[in-house]
């Protein structure tokens, strides 16, 4: 297989403790998977930023007492699809809070990712994002 060949029908699921130090690990995994699409580095950087941002928002800076992990599932088909799931409410509809001081909580992801959704069902918050692979 030559470098740059797009790989589809594959994916990875990572589950991490609610530890801010581990968000970087998820970013590295997301970038590695994104590179398998054969897209340029700008595309890879966008995936890395979006996945890191989603994890950061769902985990937060300080432990919130929740011991459930945050799960990140990345799948490649004709799109690269990412789902980040937390078993803890994440202020989906609420006002800005925490350390995103003066920055609307989801503004970066809404502006960055065309196909972006954040949903809360009971205690579960799910961030879904996808990008078309050209």
């Amino acid at each position: 297989m030559s470098a740059g060949t797009a790989i589809t029908g594959t994916g990875v699921t990572v589950s991490i403790a609610r530890d801010p130090a581990l968000v970087r690990t998820v970013r590295l995994v997301a970038a590695a998977v994104a590179r398998r699409t054969g897209q340029d580095e700008e595309f890879v950087e966008e995936i890395r930023l979006a996945v890191g941002e989603a994890c950061a928002l769902l985990i937060g800076e300080e432990p919130d007492g929740a011991d459930s992990p945050v799960t990140v599932a990345i799948h490649l088909s004709d799109r690269i699809s990412v789902e980040v799931v937390s078993q803890s409410p994440a202020g989906v509809e609420g006002p800005p809070h925490g350390d995103v001081d003066g920055v609307e909580r989801w503004a970066l992801l809404r502006g960055l990712v065309e196909d972006f959704r954040v949903e809360q069902a009971g205690p579960t918050t799910t961030v879904s994002m996808s990008w078309l692979i050209s």
Binding site: P20, A21, R27, L49, A56, E61, D99, V100, V103
Partner: protein, 112 residues
């Protein structure tokens, strides 16, 4: 890459040279540094982000919080950022209009 912070004083400003990643894990260190400097009476800050290779909204929040702190003392905060991938983040969040963003330290220090 972890976060690096180097501070120096020049022309009445305090320059913080930031390197590495400003994210949910490392941003508190930048916030603490800004809080420390403001506590010491440094109200005119220049944040040099030329060596920053990652920034998320937690980092943006720390910068906004820092600007509020210095403005409470009639101070200022200027940013140095010449990387398109970071400038894009400021534009998306509307903060490009909030911060004075310069290409270089020379440009930032030339502004009075």
């Amino acid at each position: 890459m972890d976060l690096s912070l180097e501070t120096r004083h020049e022309d009445g400003r305090t320059i913080i040279e930031v390197g590495g990643e400003i994210d949910v894990y490392t941003a508190p260190r930048l916030r603490d540094k800004i809080t420390e400097l403001v506590g010491e009476g440094s109200y005119n800050l220049v944040i040099d982000m030329q060596k920053v290779d990652f920034l998320d909204s937690t980092g943006l929040g720390v910068l906004v919080g820092g600007m509020k702190k210095v403005r409470a003392h009639d101070g200022s905060m200027q940013l140095i950022c010449n990387q398109e991938r970071l400038l894009k983040i400021f534009r998306i969040t509307g903060l490009a209009k909030v911060f004075a963003i310069h290409d270089s330290q020379a440009d930032a220090l030339a502004e009075h």
